[in-house]
């Protein structure tokens, strides 16, 4: 169950025994949003309450998806070819924050710890040093050790590992602790006369794991948890928004760094709670056709509320063009915290009188309203050779092409043909090529 702000009378657990209610969200063309129900209260919004972006409707724990971009990975590869001098190479991740791709903290979250984490692979060729650190103001000049060690399950410095997760000690219990935090991977070497060696570090994920307690904990699974999330706790991730690579300096060899690999992971969007006003009256009516005819609905909104001079709905009607407005409807079961019926569509008619505004809705995908012939539009003629519509009396079957047509006044294909051989529509229309003698597969006799 979600925890609501203090002072808000929560609907989620207080509707015991009542029927499901309607949750109507309206987004008008002018960007105004309206949230209506038969009961006043706070519920999560499908139309994101702050940005207007449509996100997946979720309950408190259901999953959605988000594809926000974070620079959460990086790699450095260093091929030392008999380096003759000191050199180093670093990748530095910084500006950690709970971005849009991460599960947001619930309102009642109490942070238990914030742990630096990275996942990656490394090949340590024993040139000089390979190290991993976290902390503030880490050097990019090739000097270790500075900052905190990754201690668990072991110190990854100067070791080879494959797709392993390491984490360090908690940096604090508030998000403010993330300020200035950095995570760094570094290799450095000095004079080496041995055979060419390769040190490589490939990091696939970097972040700070935020463990918290809450009445509604959610575990963000976009990265593996560094350690098992205790019962009653949730996990969110602060990801880096800046990655810097300092290339090979001062040594002989080659180095390559990669950054800015987007980490896209399924995460449940954070519910945005808005107040739904108790303005819906009468019965909300839906007609579901189960065919190419789109579903329709009517909503009734009372037009009496307001101050002594202005009616709320009439004012909204005057300030907005409701026709065309996007409407998302949910029949909401408060006890299950889910919608047992959903409808998305547009307002196609808005009638208002002294008491009620009636909104007529149509769903999306109204294929039956598409005006198009019931045959394929193509360079190939859709007519059956020799049929009445074709009218050809030729003994030679056509190939459904203009060039082979013997009844060209009735040719029903498109009269131009493009060469799609290069996959690009050419600017120049080319003539129909001469017919190729072939069997007419369309002709059954």
């Amino acid at each position: 169950m979600q925890t609501l702000p203090a002072g808000v009378i929560g609907p989620l657990s207080s509707t015991g025994g009542c029927a499901a209610i309607s949750l109507v969200e309206v987004l008008t063309a002018s960007g105004n949003k309206y949230f209506w129900s038969e009961q006043r209260g706070w519920w999560n919004s499908v139309i994101n309450g702050s940005t207007g972006i449509l996100i997946e409707p979720v309950g408190a724990t259901a999953g959605g998806s988000s594809a926000a971009y974070s620079n959460a990975s990086g790699a450095i590869t260093w091929n030392e070819s008999r380096p003759l001098a000191f050199g180093y190479e670093t990748v530095l991740w910084s500006d950690f924050a709970i971005g849009a791709s991460s599960q947001q903290l619930p309102l009642d979250a109490v942070i238990q710890g914030i742990y630096p984490v990275f996942v990656g692979s490394a090949v340590f060729a024993a040139v000089t040093t390979m190290g991993f650190r976290s902390g503030t103001a880490l050097p990019i000049s090739g000097s270790l050790p500075v900052g905190g060690l990754f201690t668990s399950p072991s110190n990854p410095d100067n070791t080879s590992f494959t797709n392993a997760l390491f984490y360090g000690a908690s940096i604090g219990n508030t998000l403010a602790a993330l300020t200035g935090q950095q995570i760094e991977a570094l290799t450095e070497c000095s004079l080496s006369l041995g055979p060419p060696l390769t040190d490589s570090v490939t990091v696939t994920a970097v972040g700070f794991a935020i463990y918290y307690t809450s009445a509604s904990p959610i575990i963000d699974g976009q990265m593996p948890a560094p350690f098992a999330v205790p019962a009653g706790q949730g996990l969110s991730w602060a990801l880096p928004f800046v990655v810097d690579v300092t290339g090979l300096t001062g040594a002989q060899g080659t180095a390559a760094g990669t950054i800015a690999v987007a980490l896209v992971a399924p995460v449940p969007p954070s519910p945005v709670f808005v107040e739904y006003l108790d303005w819906l009256v009468k019965t909300q009516h839906f007609q579901l056709f189960g065919s190419t005819q789109t579903d329709t609905a009517t909503l009734s909104v009372q037009n009496l509320s307001g101050n002594t001079v202005e009616r709320d709905v009439a004012l909204a009607y005057a300030k907005n063009e409701f026709i065309g407005a996007f409407v998302y409807y949910r029949l909401w079961r408060a006890d299950a915290e889910c919608a047992i019926f959903q409808f998305a569509g547009n307002v196609v008619d808005a009638d208002i009188d002294e008491e009620v505004m009636e909104l007529t809705l149509e769903g999306f995908g109204n294929y039956s309203a598409i005006r198009a012939p019931a045959y394929a539009i193509d360079v190939a003629c859709p007519l059956f050779f020799g049929s009445i519509a074709c009218g050809s009396t030729s003994p030679t079957p056509c190939q459904q092409s203009y060039g082979t047509c013997t009844s060209i006044e009735r040719f029903a294909g498109a009269l131009v043909q493009w060469d799609f051989s290069d996959g690009v529509t050419p600017l120049v229309q080319i003539a129909q090529p001469p017919p190729v003698a072939a069997a007419n597969l369309a002709r059954p006799f």
């Binding site: 209610i21 108790d278 819906l280 101050n307 001079v309």
Partner: protein, 298 residues
């Protein structure tokens, strides 16, 4: 004519009529159903006054002389589209202006005795009155800045917000009567107004030395100008002259102003709009102003 024609000028027997012009007991004093109601299945109730009807009555004259029948018939015909005055002596002598909206059908029940039952009298809106209702203690109600659900009742433009008034706290801090609409820095285009269906109104502006001045409009007519919320009086004066083009519906309006108390008694039954405009609209200083609760006659 009209309000000066009184159906029952006397309380008892009237020589000129040869009868008591008042109706018999067993009559019904009805309240108009002016309101529309909305009730979402699980929501609060919403109501709105959408008509301007007044009181009505179903009256009976039992076993009366024929002169009374003719008298009532005359009033019925004369005021089909107009109005006359009816005095409710048992109802604290309140005047009602209106007309008969059903026909006086007299039944001769005995020799020289006639009975008229169910004659409907309906109060007419926008009708002048000889005596406007003024029983503020018993025949008025309040429109506060917020309703019982603490939703705003005052329509406004500008930075008006409902605030708890320090001068008139209710029984609890959450009582609607504890609120006033407050505008700390009015600009020239600001206003606040309420509408109601009824007769006169009165309101008391809290006076504070640092406050500005306001003008009060009723139904679009300037009624009081430059009411100082510092002194509670109106050096700009009121507009009470019936020949003044600002007079409301040509009706003699005589607002009283003293100590921040504003009373406008002589308003006929109608939907009235009381609008307060900060005098900054006329070049005055942008000092705080307020819109208090308003007491309206019903």
């Amino acid at each position: 004519m009209a309000e000066t024609d009184i159906l029952n000028p006397k309380r008892g027997y009237w020589d000129e009529l040869g009868d008591n012009p008042n109706w018999n007991y067993g009559w019904i004093r009805k309240t108009a159903s002016n309101k529309k109601l909305a009730q979402p299945r699980l929501g609060r109730r919403y109501s709105r006054e959408v008509m301007n009807g007044g009181y009505s009555a179903s009256l009976n004259w039992i076993d009366r002389p024929f002169s009374t029948v003719q008298y009532l018939k005359r009033f019925f015909e004369q005021f089909q589209g107009g109005y006359f005055t009816l005095i409710d002596y048992d109802g604290c002598g309140r005047h009602h202006v209106g007309n008969f909206t059903s026909e006086p059908n007299a039944v001769e029940t005995a020799n020289g005795k006639y009975t008229i039952q169910g004659l409907t009298f309906e109060e007419a809106p926008q009708a002048r009155m000889l005596t406007y209702p003024n029983d503020w203690a018993n025949s008025s109600h309040w429109i506060f800045s917020v309703d019982d659900y603490l939703d705003p009742q005052v329509a406004s433009q500008g930075t008006w917000t409902p605030q708890l008034t320090p001068a008139m706290a209710g029984t609890t801090l959450n009582a609607p009567s504890s609120y006033e609409m407050y505008n700390p820095t009015p600009i020239y285009s600001d206003f606040a107004q309420v509408e109601y269906v009824g007769w006169g109104f009165q309101m008391t502006f809290r006076t504070v030395p640092s406050f500005g001045t306001v003008s009060i409009y009723v139904d679009g007519h300037l009624l009081i100008t430059q009411l100082s919320l510092t002194t509670g009086v109106s050096p700009g004066g009121t507009f009470a002259d019936p020949t003044n083009p600002f007079a409301v519906d040509g009706i003699y309006t005589a607002p009283a102003v003293a100590g921040g108390f504003v009373q406008c008694l002589q308003l006929p039954l109608d939907k009235h709009r009381v609008k307060v405009i900060p005098n900054v609209a006329f070049g005055g200083p942008a000092k705080p102003v307020l819109f208090p609760a308003i007491q309206v006659m019903h």
